[in-house]
Subunit: 197 residues, 2 copies
């Protein structure tokens, strides 16, 4: 009786242990150092066990990517419910994106195949990524009610700007202090949002 209850729970625990370990190794040693065997060692199982939870390393990375987008999605939702002013909304969403990349760079990396991470599943086929897009697009639409094409265009600009700055800030962090980059980011995103009107 208890086995029926304990097994699924353990399964979920092991699964999230695998994900947690992968992220932990990536954070400390970079994605190029993440291997199935190393993960298995850390959770004290043999390598094939990992394949009972993820069909391949690629699927594992895809799950971490999706986790990332889902987390972002929740945060964006929170912002949208918190503020009424569309301008404020988009600006705060921008800040959340920065904070996320700053605090969980290894996840941000696998989301965009940065720094040696490679998840071969196309990013635009990820449902969770599309959910993020929908939220931001809706936010833009809520104060610039234009045709869908225009919205997509503005979204692409917003995304490029935000992502470009985050990426470069990461890349140059030893040359240009992160706080300085953040200041420029805030100013730039604020200006972008303001100019939308």
């Amino acid at each position: 009786m208890e086995t029926i209850e304990r097994k699924p729970r353990n399964r979920e625990q092991i699964r999230s242990g695998i994900l947690k370990t992968a992220k932990s190794i990536a954070r400390q040693e970079g994605w190029q150092a993440v291997s199935i065997r190393k993960i298995a060692d850390a959770i004290e199982y043999s390598a094939p066990i990992v394949y009972e939870y993820f069909d391949s390393k690629d699927v594992l990375l895809d799950e971490i990517r999706s986790e990332g987008f889902r987390h972002l999605c929740q945060e964006y939702d929170r912002i949208v419910n918190l503020y009424r002013d569309p301008e404020k909304r988009l600006y705060e969403i921008s800040l959340v994106q920065w904070e996320f990349a700053r605090q969980q760079p290894e996840i941000y990396q696998v989301m965009y195949n940065l720094g040696g991470a490679l998840c071969t599943m196309p990013i635009y086929e990820s449902e969770s990524m599309q959910a993020v897009s929908r939220i931001v697009c809706k936010t833009i639409f809520s104060f610039i009610p234009k045709a869908e094409d225009s919205i997509k265009r503005l979204y692409f600009q917003w995304w490029s700007m935000s992502h470009g700055m985050i990426m470069l800030a990461m890349l140059l962090k030893d040359e240009q202090p992160i706080d300085q980059s953040e200041q420029i980011y805030r100013d730039s995103m604020r200006r972008f949002v303001r100019d939308l009107r």
Copy 2:
């Protein structure tokens, strides 16, 4: 006697053959598929020969990255000599950057550690990258003569915008046609340059 002359020439040929092969494999199969053995096979040598020309795979990638920045540097120089108007200069430089990423995406990838490519040498220590920075900064300075900090700031913004859009356009190319992305890129960069005044 002839050996003295023929040897160095062959050496240079083999070296560039290695670089060419690496880029070719990366273009066709992605950077994750580039291996020393595969390169060696292609140039019809055994793997250790590659190490007579590059101390490690990492310095091989670093050389390709530097090649990329040097090429960009030359193109920027060409632009600067071609136009007098600083606004035109920066805009044309932006277009060259786009064209480069479009025509040699595999090199652009290794320059920024995109899409699974990983060159562990820090990008800001690359002399050729710094040369690129100097040119663009000088161009910005030539029509916005402000303090060095302000220039660096503007450069960071320009770079982020350009790089962000290029990166996203690559990532989303199967969802958003590249020509459409290019149109947005041109408009955005033109506007950025115009607003500098």
